[in-house]
């Protein structure tokens, strides 16, 4: 299976990258409020079992891909094509 992991700065955490992006977009003439910048990780997994895949990716997130103190994550799974 393939997995897409979205890692975001948790709500309430200062996100200076997001602030810089928002400021640049305003300079370009776009009207907007906040921007938040996270990270996207695409994974090719060795399993085709959805339950097993989710459990593996959750452990990856807890151990390495996200720091739970400051980041939240979302996992999307796709069948490999």
């Amino acid at each position: 299976m393939k997995a897409t992991v979205l890692v975001r700065p948790k709500a309430g955490i200062l996100d200076p990258q997001g602030q810089a992006v928002a400021s640049s977009l305003r300079h370009l003439g776009f009207a907007l409020g906040d921007a938040r910048v996270g990270r996207l990780v695409e994974l090719e997994l060795a399993t085709e079992d959805e339950g097993e895949a989710r459990s593996q990716v959750e452990r990856m997130c807890e151990q390495l891909l996200a720091n739970p103190l400051i980041e939240s994550y979302e996992i999307e799974l796709h069948a490999a094509t």
């Binding site: 200076p16 390495l64 891909l65 720091n67 103190l69």
Partner: protein, 238 residues
């Protein structure tokens, strides 16, 4: 109790990760303070016998990929460093070393990109809030220190409840002086220790403040305290 000329100093390990760049400066500073310094490559599984303290130096381990310190935390030597720390061994993390210790959950909080998004490299005024522990015992009445910072990701963060707990338990050992916070760190935190007091991490660089030519010798107070504590722990019966 002072060491004689023939007595070797306490064995202090400086770990070098791929991308560390302050390991030699740390070695030089600690050796100047009388430590028997071993520089250990991160791929080693074990610490040398008789290790009395471990220093994780500054730098950009693994290119700061993913998050600063997140990958170095899984280096082979870190298993031994974590066991050493959990057994009460003295561990000091400087800058990237501090980031690695928070990622390894040996120290509270996390280090985020500077609020300014700019790399900062300058001397900062610091306030020592605890002068009794193994990392600050030489400070005595000297509560105001000057040491350089040089980092892009030094914005220490913890939620307000955690900050309150750390304040109440005296774990916020080092703060930026009022108006000198270079990175937006919550509660002006420049350095924190674990509850037991044997693990300490800080963003400023004591190893770059050990000679009048460098503008400050205040770093000797931190590293000298560590060498004193390491000497006492290696002299203690096992």
């Amino acid at each position: 109790m002072s060491a004689t000329a023939t007595e070797p100093g306490p064995r202090v390990v400086v770990v070098a990760f791929p991308g560390s760049n302050d390991d030699r400066d740390a070695e030089l500073a600690l050796r100047g303070l009388g430590a028997d310094v071993y520089r250990v490559w991160h791929a080693e599984n074990e610490l040398p016998p008789g290790t009395a303290a471990v220093v994780l130096p500054g730098g950009f381990s693994y290119g700061d990929y993913l998050r600063c310190g997140a990958i170095a935390r899984f280096s082979p030597v870190m298993g031994s460093v974590v066991r050493f720390a959990l057994d009460g061994g003295l561990v000091l993390g400087i800058c990237n070393g501090f980031q690695i210790l928070t990622e390894a959950r040996l120290l509270p909080g996390a280090l985020r990109p500077n609020a300014s998004l700019s790399f900062v490299c300058r001397d900062v005024g610091l306030h020592v809030t605890e002068v009794t522990g193994p990392f600050t015992s030489r400070c005595g009445e000297r509560k105001r220190l000057t040491m350089p910072v040089k980092h892009g990701d030094g914005c220490w963060f913890a939620d307000p409840e955690t900050v309150d707990e750390l304040e109440a338990s005296g774990q916020i050992v080092l703060r930026y002086a009022p108006g000198e916070n270079p990175n937006g760190a919550v509660a002006d935190v420049a350095g924190v220790r674990n509850p037991l007091g044997n693990v300490f991490g800080l963003m400023p660089h004591p190893e770059h403040a050990v000679d009048p030519l460098l503008g400050s010798t205040d770093g000797e107070l931190i590293l000298g305290s560590l060498v004193d504590a390491a000497r006492m722990s290696s002299a203690a019966p096992v």
